[in-house]
């Protein structure tokens, strides 16, 4: 049996919305009852369209947000209710790579401080070793030693993202949530950063939770892929199975939306229609029923169970396997 590193159980994250002094407060159900397991050394991709809650889920897992409900079990410990000093310990094991390489680096700090600050804050190195360690890390991330004195504005987007990765690695974590790390980069730079991240994974024995909206990026880097829709994971399986045999109609629609370079191949399915519903008033029953081409009465009333239909292939659809 593979070693579990992270288990997410029924995690919810709701944000209150203030609409007025005398009106009933509403909630945005950003993450709504998500469960999955991650194993050591794997990369789990998380895809979904904008606003489906994938970033919120990632940030809840690293405890940037406190979950509204549910458990996050990291290395056999429930971290979902941890507070300040315990969280500080957790930071050494779990890190986050940010999406925006521009706003995620303090413009007034040089690379030396950006990457090294956390090492000093956690007292991982002495002041004497510190500079060498910073150079080690940034060189592993594809930067040069003379970059340490430079400021973020002197770098390109790809280089900035490398600094972001170096900063996350400085604490020597085991688990990294990568929140759309390449979506702000040019395609040519994307692959460089992705390959670097893959290399670092083997070298440092990392596990990634890789969030993206780009199906080809996720396919490239992930071992397994989860598909999110409106705050829930609706399908989760190995990447080959997902791309070859999607079971959920939403996944099928996503696969159909991937541009096909071969003009002779005919698309099996029409692209998905309609808009993603509001996550304040989520649809009853199966959340996808408003857009699903195969919708039946039961879909509008009963929430489909997230079940293991085949081995290692989880799906939340009443008619999975029948469509």
């Amino acid at each position: 049996m593979r070693e579990k590193i992270l288990e997410v159980k029924n995690v919810k994250k709701y944000f209150p919305v203030n609409i007025g002094l005398f009106k009933k407060p509403l909630q945005v159900k950003a993450v709504d009852d998500v469960s999955f397991t991650m194993y050591k050394g794997e990369t789990l991709g998380l895809v979904g369209e904008s606003g489906c809650g994938k970033s919120t889920l990632g940030r809840t897992i690293v405890r940037l947000y406190e979950p509204t409900a549910g458990q996050i079990i990291f290395k056999d410990q429930d971290i979902s209710t941890w507070k300040s000093h315990k969280l500080k310990k957790l930071r050494q094991e779990m890190q986050l790579i940010f999406q925006d390489p521009y706003s995620s680096l303090n413009p007034r700090m040089n690379v030396n401080s950006i990457v090294g600050e956390a090492m000093l804050a956690h007292k991982l190195v002495s002041k004497a070793e510190y500079e060498d360690r910073v150079v080690d890390i940034i060189e592993k991330c594809g930067l040069a030693s003379y970059h340490v004195n430079r400021y973020p504005h002197q770098f390109s987007g790809g280089q900035r993202q490398r600094i972001g990765v170096a900063r996350a690695l400085a604490l020597n974590p085991e688990f990294i949530v990568a929140d759309e790390p390449v979506s702000a980069l040019d395609v040519s730079v994307q692959s460089q950063v992705l390959n670097m991240m893959n290399g670092l994974k083997d070298e440092f024995g990392l596990s990634y939770l890789f969030i993206s909206h780009d199906l080809s990026v996720v396919k490239h880097i992930s071992d397994r892929i989860g598909v999110m829709y409106l705050g829930s994971i609706i399908e989760l399986t190995g990447k080959r199975k997902l791309y070859e045999n999607p079971l959920h109609p939403y996944t099928m629609a996503l696969m159909a939306a991937i541009p096909e370079p071969d003009p002779r191949k005919i698309k099996k399915m029409e692209a998905i229609k309609g808009e993603i519903p509001s996550n304040i008033n989520t649809p009853s029953g199966c959340k996808f029923h408003t857009r699903c081409p195969y919708v039946k009465d039961i879909c509008k009333e009963e929430v489909p169970e997230f079940r293991e239909l085949e081995k290692d292939h989880f799906v939340a659809c009443h008619f999975a396997g029948e469509i």
């Binding site: 940037l64 986050l96 925006d100 706003s103 007034r108 600050e117 956390a118």
Partner: protein, 395 residues
């Protein structure tokens, strides 16, 4: 982190010693001509107001503590006392009142000519005392007055003189050297500007920082409070406070001005700092500090403050210029620094006399020019500092 091996450290590119951000800022500042001019100008003004008054004779310094009226009346009283005149309280009171009125309101030479002094002393009791001396009372008193005033640095017979070799910027209504008062007054004006800008900046930064960082109800409370302070009309408030603080001795009125300006002008900066911190707090690099487990102190002082520093510096310099102007305005209205202590503002105040305004230009133009030069150089300096401290600014 045992996986990292040290053998990978490259030796191909020599590692440069990290260049501190202050060094970089200084290098950038040096290249900015305009800012250098502003900085040099400000430095010269500061040096000037410190050094130049020291060159003048000690006597002039005493004119800062006394004005002519007080000097004359007390010396005359002293000399009368020496001659054995019995001075009761009633006499003293009428004497002071009369004297003050006469000396302050009219030109001193006119006053002598009008012989009002003789008038004053022809009262019977004084006449008897001076009778044996066979000298006119008026003359005695006049001589006493001039001798004593000269000892105090006043040269009344030398008043209203245009610039000359002795007095480069001429003399004022009471025969005091304008250049000396200009630079001595510069000290007062700069101190007022510096202190009230410091007060404004510290209050504004602390209130704005706390408000933006902690947010919530505290933020709402502090911001409503700032709005209340902001809604107080500055001038009427100043006039009331200055009037209420009349009991403060004249050499300390400058502290009243500092206090009033500082207390009333922080909300502007507080709002700017709060807005900046609110927007910075949502930036991903602040979330990154949380994820990295950086302490609150470090987050505030290493991450937030350096990013609002540019605004604080600009606001501090503009605030300093503004405070100098405000002090000048208040003094011009007779509510700021009180004479005999000079400030640029109350020196310009002389120009509300139409004779001075039309004919004695040397009395009020120099302080006006000094105010202008100071405010302009401080603002240029501030802008230069802001550019130098902004790493995004590349020249």
């Amino acid at each position: 982190m045992s996986e990292i091996k040290n053998d990978q450290t490259t030796t191909t590119t020599p590692r440069l010693k990290p260049e501190g951000p202050w060094k970089i800022a200084w290098n950038r500042f040096k290249k900015n001509k305009v800012a250098l001019v502003g900085g040099t100008g400000f430095l010269l003004i500061v040096l000037g107001v410190i050094v130049i008054p020291m060159i003048f004779s000690f006597n002039l310094w005493r004119t800062m503590e006394l004005d002519a009226g007080t000097a004359i009346s007390s010396t005359v009283l002293d000399s009368l006392d020496e001659k054995g005149v019995e001075i009761d309280e009633e006499f003293e009171e009428t004497f002071f009142n009369r004297f003050d009125e006469v000396v302050r309101q009219s030109h001193f030479e006119d006053f002598i000519e009008q012989n009002e002094l003789d008038d004053l002393y022809t009262q019977e009791d004084i006449n008897q005392l001076f009778a044996g001396e066979a000298v006119g009372t008026g003359r005695i008193i006049r001589e006493t007055i001039f001798v004593n005033l000269r000892a105090h640095g006043f040269e009344l017979e030398n008043s209203d003189q245009p610039p000359s070799r002795e007095n480069w910027l001429g003399t004022d209504r009471q025969g005091r050297d304008v250049m000396f008062r200009l630079f001595y007054g510069g000290r007062i004006s700069l101190i007022v500007g510096l202190l009230s800008a410091t007060l404004t900046v510290s209050l504004g930064t602390v209130v704005g920082g706390v408000s933006g960082y902690y947010g919530g109800k505290l933020d709402a409370f502090l911001m409503r409070f700032a709005e209340i302070v902001q809604s107080i009309p500055l001038l009427p408030m100043m006039i009331s406070i200055s009037a209420a603080m009349r009991w403060v001795p004249s050499e300390r009125t400058l502290l009243v001005v500092v206090f009033v300006v500082g207390i009333l002008s922080w909300p502007g900066l507080a709002r700017v700092v709060r807005g900046q911190i609110l927007s910075l707090r949502e930036q991903e690099f602040m979330q990154a500090t949380e994820i990295l487990g950086i302490s609150d102190v470090s987050r505030i002082f290493r991450h937030l403050l350096p990013n609002v520093l540019a605004y604080i510096i600009v606001s501090a310099t503009l605030g300093m210029g503004g405070a100098i102007l405000l002090e000048a305005g208040l003094s011009f209205l007779g509510l700021g620094v009180q004479p005999p202590m000079p400030s640029w503002g109350n020196m310009i105040y002389l120009a509300n006399n139409s004779t001075v305004f039309r004919e004695y230009l040397w009395m009020w133009i120099p302080p006006g020019v000094m105010i202008m030069l100071t405010v302009v150089s401080v603002n240029l300096l501030g802008e230069g500092l802001r550019d130098a401290l902004d790493p995004k600014e590349i020249r």
